[in-house]
Symmetry: C2
Subunit: 321 residues, 2 copies
Amino acid sequence: MKDHPSHLPTYDDMLAAHERIKPYIHRTPVLTSSYLNDLTGAELFFKCENFQKAGAFKVRGASNAVFGLSDEMAARGVATHSSGNHALSLSYAAGRRGIPCHVVMPRTAPQAKKDAVRGYGGMITECEPSTTSREAVFAKVHAATGADFVHPYNDPRVIAGQGTCSRELMEQTGGLDAVIAPIGGGGMISGTCLTLSTLAPDVKIYAAEPEQADDAYRSFKAGHIIADDAPETVADGLKVPLKENTWHFVSHHVTDILTASEDEIIEAMKLTWKRMKIVIEASSAVPLATILKNPEVFRGKRVGVILTGGNVDLDTLPWIK
Amino acid sequence: MKDHPSHLPTYDDMLAAHERIKPYIHRTPVLTSSYLNDLTGAELFFKCENFQKAGAFKVRGASNAVFGLSDEMAARGVATHSSGNHALSLSYAAGRRGIPCHVVMPRTAPQAKKDAVRGYGGMITECEPSTTSREAVFAKVHAATGADFVHPYNDPRVIAGQGTCSRELMEQTGGLDAVIAPIGGGGMISGTCLTLSTLAPDVKIYAAEPEQADDAYRSFKAGHIIADDAPETVADGLKVPLKENTWHFVSHHVTDILTASEDEIIEAMKLTWKRMKIVIEASSAVPLATILKNPEVFRGKRVGVILTGGNVDLDTLPWIK
């Protein structure tokens, strides 16, 4: 299995992506909370990708990949391996174009996730919950279908698509001092770097990561990619490691990476639900957790906070034991 | 204890209320969900008063009462009896004006509710959890302070304030076939009737009520007010009975009252959280529950759905046992 040929997306790729995906995505609202502003001493602008189609920002990159394919390529469909929001989003985008979407998922993935992928029309091939099995099964699906592989975050088309989010955020807020987003594989952060390094190069870019899955933080300090083996965190969208394309953006454009503990993430998640009356997943709460932990970094600043998704199992909330 | 002198608010009272309260309330967004449109066959426009200041529409009426007082009256403060959103909202509005707010609450009310009222600056006097005790304690507080009594829903200033919500909804949607809102004491429904009977008299007005607290439904069918003694429902904002002013609007302008079971309300609440990614309280879910139960009434129609509030105890959700 080989990733999509690696090259770095450009600012023009992001602009083209925005035009391409507009019919299929929401221009999500930006919400504010006077309570959270008082609490943090900063002026926070929450970009609500939890309201996005398929419940997460990932639909931006997935739609860009799907709708950028030639008719001939598209006819063979798209394929990916993911048990999370990328699988949902790619299924949604493929469904909108009317082409097949093949998803390799561990057989141990929650039934709710499988149902959601199938609900959007995705076709699931199950693998064992190991990297070896996933790669073997994916190679087989890929060979049998000739489908286009859309990597969840390292694909330049995906990064360009994710970059459309911070373009909207800048338009909607009329300017910011900083933007903060969660970091897992680095797709959203890379798109943010891609867009802001041209559109608003003075804006500081912070990445927020769970302490228990702080491979990006350690990579950033070490100056090279460090990949952890299967870290565990409540922020289950953020377990994956950086890859070469996302590492490029992180290492060149990110101001700093801040981390938060599991308890701090859960507390920030619950506080957002309680005060803003919106449902966000744990991964989306990591930025607010790090802002609350490092108020001196953000005090007096206008800060864009990307709420990356809202796909939560409502039957098992992390603060209810 | 006597209610505020009874008279019916006018359309001009509503317009004046809107001007008066604008600096203190949010013009809340209207959200849509393609999933729920597909599911119901209607086009639903959700007016998100769960995002309102103090977490509920009640702040509209409370602010109208508080900011309509002369300086002399205001100096003595305001008072009410409530253990719910009206208490929060009146405390918030009084706090914004910098005047005292006295709230009589049963000593058995949840600590979270008491903390929230105090968080907005309200001063609580506890009573026993009975009507007799509440009335006696309230009369004492009222006599001692000379504060202006703001009834949670029968007060004409409150009804005029609640009417501002459907004015915004009509502006934001550019026209509707029907509006549906929950009914308890009838403040929101009365305000909706007040506004729409002049602004858009062809719009049908539906009230949605829990089966287990269906006194408004039975009143509507009987042609006179029927008050239940302490009904129990998960939609805890809807337990109170109609009073003379709200009965006037309900009996003259409501098209129909629809009811839903406890399970149907909880299911609609969870569905809203899951699909729309917003936190609404159980009372707010009753309209969607009745739409799902009576699709033939709404199919093909443009329907405004008022989500009345989002104040939920996140530690005890009704679908998690």
